[in-house]
Each structure stands twice: as structure tokens, then as C-alpha cells.
Symmetry: C2
Subunit: 474 residues, 2 copies
């Protein structure tokens, strides 16, 4: 068979089967944007004649990571809110109210570049103004599974006194739903299929049941999924109790939302039995260890969800309150936080975390027919890890192989050398080759400085971060 490219003499970690599918001295043949053969180098060289050979001795070749939940539009506010209670109202809102669409767009690119440099090839971005942000994904060349965040909340919601019922304005909801429909019509399947679209209700507390049902109807019409925060915090549960006298999960169950169309993000406040109900319904759980650890001081119920047989994935959430968007961080945290939660070092072995960032994530977000593993017929979304980085060295192969634990517990993302999406290298030798990184950083910096001027002019917050600043701690 004539192929475009053979990657050979690598440790190929396919993530197929129930483990990690490691092939030593392995090779991958690529034709166009698809993987056409995978196996031992010797076999693949027999089966294929390649235009180009990529010698990969000393490299780990594996599927790119799938970040199942990210709000890239918040990256412009990286680091303004953490180490506090009342994160939304006191930390984020005093800045967020001044964020313009263009700030979101420029900040978003920082997040995407950060992710790509740490091996993320698919971003499940869930934010406002997605018809603008999608252009960043097209420009950099990453795969994107996008949802417009739909709610019926007026823009000044952060100024509401804590504990009051949110007002809903149906014109806001209609407009946001329309944005999501436009995103679907204009972008689903575009950019060689790299862009796909979901629907993105903000949460069961953030919109009327009527609108929520309409969003679901649209998701059914386009046969796609719902990306939604569920049980994301005590604020949500309080709102649901006030409005419906029901907690989120019984409410969603009664109204027919619990099924495999749903990506339920966080489940921070879900009880053990609620967690099991969601898992058994076929809905997926997206677990964000870094952000929920920093914002809430909580370890979400991912263990219970997996024990109940659910499909799950990892997400990096937002930069103001994680503060990084790097799947290596999420793999390490989901494992170690659950070890300490159960006081058992055998809990959540590295392999499990790695699967939740690749093949299981693909299943959870509904992309496993295309990506998540290195298998014949799948799209070539492939990353190359330098096993000669000090942090990945030495490589031991027997009697046990140490690559997986070192990838999860030792690597930090900078070991990712090349990134290929859809058969094309978008990063080589750690340089993103589809855009000018420094220029993008400077654009975002300029936008952040102007935003910071605007926010400072009317700044009102009781955030403890203000005290830290006054005491010279920042």
C-alpha cells in the first residue's frame, strides 16, 4: 500500500483494547488524515511504501489528549481568582463584567496554544461567542468539539446578592440558543471534519425548563450531545431547591435528560446515589480535578461514577481557577486526589487516568469512531513524547515497563515534542507551525492590560485576593 507517512521505531501506545496497547519498536502508517496501518516496525514496513519516514527511536507515539471541558474564553483572566470562597461573585465577576468579545478571542488562543503544547489535540470548548472562538481552532489546526453556553441570565448576574433566585430573561435565552444553532449550521463538520458542534445549556439552574427542553429538542434534531454543568456547586443546588424544590439530578431524571446524549460536567455536589443514577443512565461524567480542587476544595465523585459503570473523561475547565489547561495536570491530580480521598495508594492507577484523557474521553464525548486511539481507520491525531527528557528517563521495559506511570506522574507536558492533528504536524520540536506564538501572546497581553484598566476603574470586591495584594503577597 502506498502511504504518505510512516512513523517508525517508536514506543507506540495505541490505547486500543482494555489496557494501553503498547507496541515496542512500533510503527504507524498514515494516508491523508487517516491511520492505515499500526504494528511492529518490521510489519508496517513490509505492508507500506511511504513518501516520508519519520524516525522515532526514543519517542513515545500516542493519541493526542482530548480535553473534555474547557472554557477557553476565560483565559484572559488567568490567575485573577483562586484561594477564596465565593469564587464566582467575589473573584471572577469583578473582572468578567469587563471582558469584551475580542478579549475572549485573544485570551482563548493562549489556552489553545497551552493545550497543544501539552499534547491536547481535541478541545471540547464550552463558552459564549463560540462562532468567534472557533476561528482560533481553525487557525491553529486543532480538533474542536464546540458548544455555545446557553442561559437566560442577564449579564450583570454576578452583582446579584448571593442566595437570591436568578431572574430569567427569555430574549437572552432565545438569542443564545440561536447562536448555538448558527454554530451548528455553519460549523458542524467544517474544516475537514475537525470542527463538530454540541449544544451547551449552562446548567439546570441557569435557564427555564422550557428553554432546556427546547435545547434538548435541537440536540435530538441534529443528533448531537448536550454539554452541561450538573451539580456544579452548592449555588446550583440552592437555586434548584428554591425554584423546583428538587435537587438537580432528580429534576433532570424526571424531565428526561439523563441518557447518553448528556455530558454531565463536574457532579461536584452529587450524592453517591445520584452519581450512580447518572452513570447508569448512559450519560457521561466530565471530571475537572484541578479546577474543582482549587475553587471548591472538593474531589468530585469520579470513583463512584466509574464503579457504577459510567463513561468518564477529564477536563481542564477555566484558567481563572485551575489555573492551567494541561491534561498532564489533570491526569496527575485525578489519580493522587483519589488516592488521598480513599487513603489508598492503589486507587486510580496511572493507566486509568491515561485512558480517561484519551480513549475513554473519546467515548464520553462521542468521538471514539474518529479519535482517542491509534487504530486503523481513525484520524491521525498523534503526539510524540521525548522519552529522553530527564523527567521521562530512564526507560525501563522489564520486568515492568515504567513509561505509563512516568507519563502520568512525572511528565508535565513539556516532553511533548511534536503534535499531529488530522495527519498534519501543527507543532514540531515544540514550535507551533500554524501561527506566530509570540505575536498571539502579545495580542492577548495588550487586551488584558486594557481590560485591567477598565476593571480597576470600578473595582468592588471583598475578595481575599485584594487583601493579599495589599499585604505584598502577590
Amino acid at each position: 500500500m502506498k502511504v504518505d507517512l510512516i512513523i517508525r521505531h517508536a514506543h507506540v501506545m495505541t490505547m486500543s483494547g482494555s489496557g494501553v496497547g503498547m507496541i515496542e519498536d512500533g510503527a504507524v502508517a498514515i494516508k491523508g488524515n487517516r491511520i492505515v496501518q499500526v504494528g511492529k516496525t518490521e510489519e508496517v514496513m513490509k505492508g507500506c511504501q511511504a513518501e516520508e519516514i519519520h524516525e522515532s527511536k526514543g519517542k513515545l507515539v500516542m493519541p493526542g489528549f482530548i480535553d473534555a471541558h474547557i472554557h477557553s474564553g476565560l483565559a484572559i483572566l488567568r490567575g485573577v481568582a483562586q484561594d477564596m470562597g465565593n469564587w464566582m461573585e467575589e473573584g471572577l465577576w469583578p473582572f468578567m463584567k469587563h471582558v469584551k468579545d475580542d478579549d475572549q478571542r485573544k485570551g482563548s488562543m493562549l489556552n489553545i496554544m497551552e493545550g497543544v503544547k501539552a499534547g491536547t489535540t481535541t478541545f471540547c470548548d464550552y463558552d459564549a461567542n463560540m462562532t468567534t472562538l472557533v476561528n482560533n481552532y481553525v487557525e491553529i489546526g486543532a480538533r474542536a468539539r464546540l458548544a455555545e453556553m446557553i442561559n437566560e441570565i442577564p449579564k450583570d448576574i454576578g452583582d446579584l446578592p448571593r442566595g437570591e433566585l436568578y431572574p430569567f430573561e427569555s430574549t437572552i435565552g432565545e438569542k443564545k440558543l440561536q447562536n448555538n444553532i448558527d454554530l451548528m449550521k455553519n460549523w458542524d463538520g467544517e474544516n475537514n471534519g475537525k470542527v463538530t458542534v454540541l449544544f451547551g445549556p449552562h446548567g439546570p439552574d441557569m435557564m427555564s425548563l422550557e428553554l432546556l427542553k427546547e435545547v434538548q429538542h435541537q440536540a435530538e434534531k441534529y443528533d448531537t450531545k448536550l454539554h452541561m454543568h450538573v451539580c456544579q456547586g452548592d449555588r446550583e443546588i440552592h437555586q434548584m431547591n428554591m425554584r423546583y424544590r428538587k435537587r438537580s439530578i432528580p429534576f433532570l431524571e424526571e424531565n428526561g435528560f439523563l441518557n447518553d446524549r448528556l455530558l454531565a460536567v463536574h457532579l461536584t455536589e452529587a450524592t453517591k446515589s445520584e452519581t450512580a443514577v447518572v452513570a447508569q443512565s448512559g450519560a457521561s461524567m466530565i471530571n475537572c480535578s484541578g479546577s474543582i480542587g482549587i475553587i471548591d476544595g472538593i474531589v468530585p465523585p469520579i470513583l463512584e461514577f466509574l464503579e457504577a459503570g459510567g463513561k468518564a473523561a477529564l477536563g481542564s475547565d477555566q484558567a481563572p481557577g485551575n489555573n492551567c489547561n494541561n491534561l498532564f495536570n489533570e491526569m496527575k491530580f485525578v489519580s493522587i486526589l483519589n488516592k488521598v480521598k480513599t487513603q489508598n495508594p492503589a486507587t486510580f492507577p496511572a493507566t486509568k487516568a491515561l485512558r480517561l484523557a484519551t480513549i475513554e474521553s473519546a467515548k464520553a464525548v462521542g468521538l471514539d469512531h474518529e479519535v482517542g486511539s491509534i487504530e486503523v481507520g481513525k484520524k491521525a491525531d498523534i503526539i510524540f513524547i521525548d522519552l529522553e527528557s530527564p523527567s521521562m528517563s530512564p526507560v525501563i521495559r522489564k520486568p515492568v515497563r515504567n513509561i505509563v506511570p512516568n507519563l502520568v506522574y512525572s511528565a508535565n507536558g513539556s516532553e511533548v515534542e511534536h503534535v499531529m492533528v488530522d495527519g498534519k504536524f501543527i507543532m514540531k520540536d515544540r514550535e507551533i507551525n500554524t501561527l506566530n506564538e509570540k505575536e498571539k501572546v502579545r495580542e492577548a497581553q495588550k487586551a488584558a492590560e486594557s481590560l485591567s484598566d477598565r476593571a480597576s476603574a470600578d473595582f468592588q470586591s471583598h475578595s481575599p485576593v485584594i487583601g493579599m495584594m495589599q499585604r505584598g503577597e502577590l
Copy 2:
């Protein structure tokens, strides 16, 4: 004043005072190996004429990190043992028994390179064969505060049935103490003062009281400190109860070991009152979040220790069971693990973690007269962080500054651009310039392969990692 070098137009984070001592548009003047002026760029330029100017706009300039507890000699076994109980006996020992002195030396260099590349400038290394390992520090040019690990345990201790009292052999103890004394005589103050020496009893359970007292006597004679594991696990407590019918801390208190000469490492199993006793004695606590999280599934009592007024520092411990040796990892974990331990996102703000990796660490290990902050008279151990890395962008300066939280929660170490130790750059633009990195990695790899052959030949372990290997999970 004539100086050798001025670093200017940087964000200079001095870590002096009670906060982080940030100076915007700051400068540092260096003469020989010492800092001679620090302040606003304008002031420093008025006060000094420099041979060389280092333009540092867009950089954070800060003191190098002090890793207060590392066993670099174990780096050759990175990733062979984790995700299991019985870590020492089942995970580590079947490999460790085959490690030769030369394997330790070659592996150690991987750890040191990894640390330097993540901004560590001082390593408190605590291992066997330190008179060999010290040469790695001299070669790379890092600062080292070294202790020979002293015990009276025969080399095959890992083969002992769990629960049996360790046999002691005084000839072993005498030899190891002599190694530590030799290290002191030959190396303390050497390499322009970059090498200093402590004494390193392995733990109160690992040697007779007689030998422990002799080690303390030597530490007093040379007026230095004791670097020692204390309450490092249930095995230690079990040994202490069997041998003395006392737990470690009451035992050490009665015998006069609790004072400011002691660096008490881990305190994993210390009760709240025991923790307070150690803190109030003037002894320091070294907290290793990554390793204790992975090996034991426990968050050590650092909060209680600090509340009781103790001096504390962070350490990265060993590569087989952390698995990285990177202070960015330790800062992030100490903060987030303690947030979830207390279910409070305000617990352990970023600033506190940052201090424990720099100035507080210097105080804890007794080097604060030399390093840990950027202040006039101190040694120039300085790192440069690229604030234009996507993960550190954007930089917001008002109404709150976001550099510290992004350094602790977002950075992973790869943002460190240059590393200076003792006034000399040992890394520039991420390349260590005192040695050939690739060559060192390959040397260690070769040693690891031979070690892996030896270990495979007589491998006996019930380690769950074996099962993972058989199931294709590694």
C-alpha cells in the same frame, strides 16, 4: 559601584519580608557570586556600572528553589513502583537490591538535571554513597546540602518478612557514619561554598539509640544539622513500638533530638499533638506532598505544623514514587491537597506554597544567610521565568497581580528560561551549559537497561504492577 552584571526591567520577586517582595521594573546587580543591589531599574542603574547588562523585560526574576528532601540516587528506578501498598518491599526492593553505586551516580544526574530545568538551585540530597553523588553537583554547578544516609540495616532488609524487627549490625552503622564524617571533612564548604554537609540518620527505627546519639554528637561537633525521616510510615511506628514501646516523637523528645538541629522529614504518621511538639521544639518539617500522596495516599500534617509555629519546607523525595523531582509539582500539590483536606479553597494560598519552596525552605534547612531570597549580601542563585509562555499569560498587574497564582497553579517548570547559581548561568535558554544533557541521559539509560536485566533474572514480587504489566496496562 562597579559590578559584573545587572539584570534589569524584570518583575523581580525578592521573597524578602513577609510576602513575595515584588518589584515591578526591577533590577538586580551582581558582583562575583553575590547580590550587591536590588531595586527599581532606575535606582540600580544609578548606583552601579555593569560589565554586562541582562535585559529581562517580560521575565520574572526570583530566587531559585530549594528542594529540601531528595534521594537522587533512586532516580535510576523512576516509575518502577507506585499505585500499590507495600511500596518498599514489593515495589522498590526487587529492583533496589540490584542497584550498583555507578547506577546511582548515573541516575542521580537525571534528577539533578530535571530539577535544574525546573528552577531548583539547591538540592538537599540524602542518600547512600554521597561522596560519589557530590561529583554530579560539582559538575552541573548546582548548590548542594548533602547528607549520607546512615543506618545499621543489612543490605537485604527488603527481603525480611513484614512486621519483623529489623536486625542491626553495628559494623554497617559505623561504616556509614564514617562515610558521612568523610563527606563532612572532604566536602563541607567546597566548590566555592556551594557544597555543605549535614548528618543523615535514616530514621529512629533504622539504627540503635547508641548510634543515633553518636550521629548527633558529630552534628554538634561540626555545628550542622540532622536530616532524618521521622514518622515516615506505619512501618516506622510499628518498629518503634516493638523495640522501645514508644512512638517516634516521644522517643526523640526524651532523647534530646527535638531542637533546631533537626530536619524532620515527612511526619506522615505524626498525631496532631506530636506535630505541635516538633514544631515548637524549633525542628523543621520537610513536607513531600507528591511522594506521600502517591506512596501512602496521605496528606502530611503541614497545616498543623505551620499553625503551631514551625519552620517548614518542601521536598520532592524519590523518583520511584513521586515520580518527578520538580518543585512546581510540590507547590501545586501542597496547596491543592490541603484545600481538599480542609474542604476549603482558601486554605494554603499560592504565596504560602511559594515561600515554602524558597525563603522558608532556606530557613528550614539553615541556608537563609546565603540563599532563598534576592537580597543584598546573599549568593546570586536566581532563576528567570518567561512570563510570555502561554501558561503564564497574560500578566495582569492591577487591581490584583496574577503572577504568583499562575506560577504555583499553572506553571509546570518548563517556563524557567535561565538558571544562575552562585552568580554563574548554568542554564541559558533551557540548555544546561555545564554538561551534555543527551549524553548524561544515554549513560543513565544504558545503566538502567543492565540493571533491568539483572532485576528480571531473579524477580520475585507480588507487586500489583506485575499484574498491570501482564494485563497490558503498562
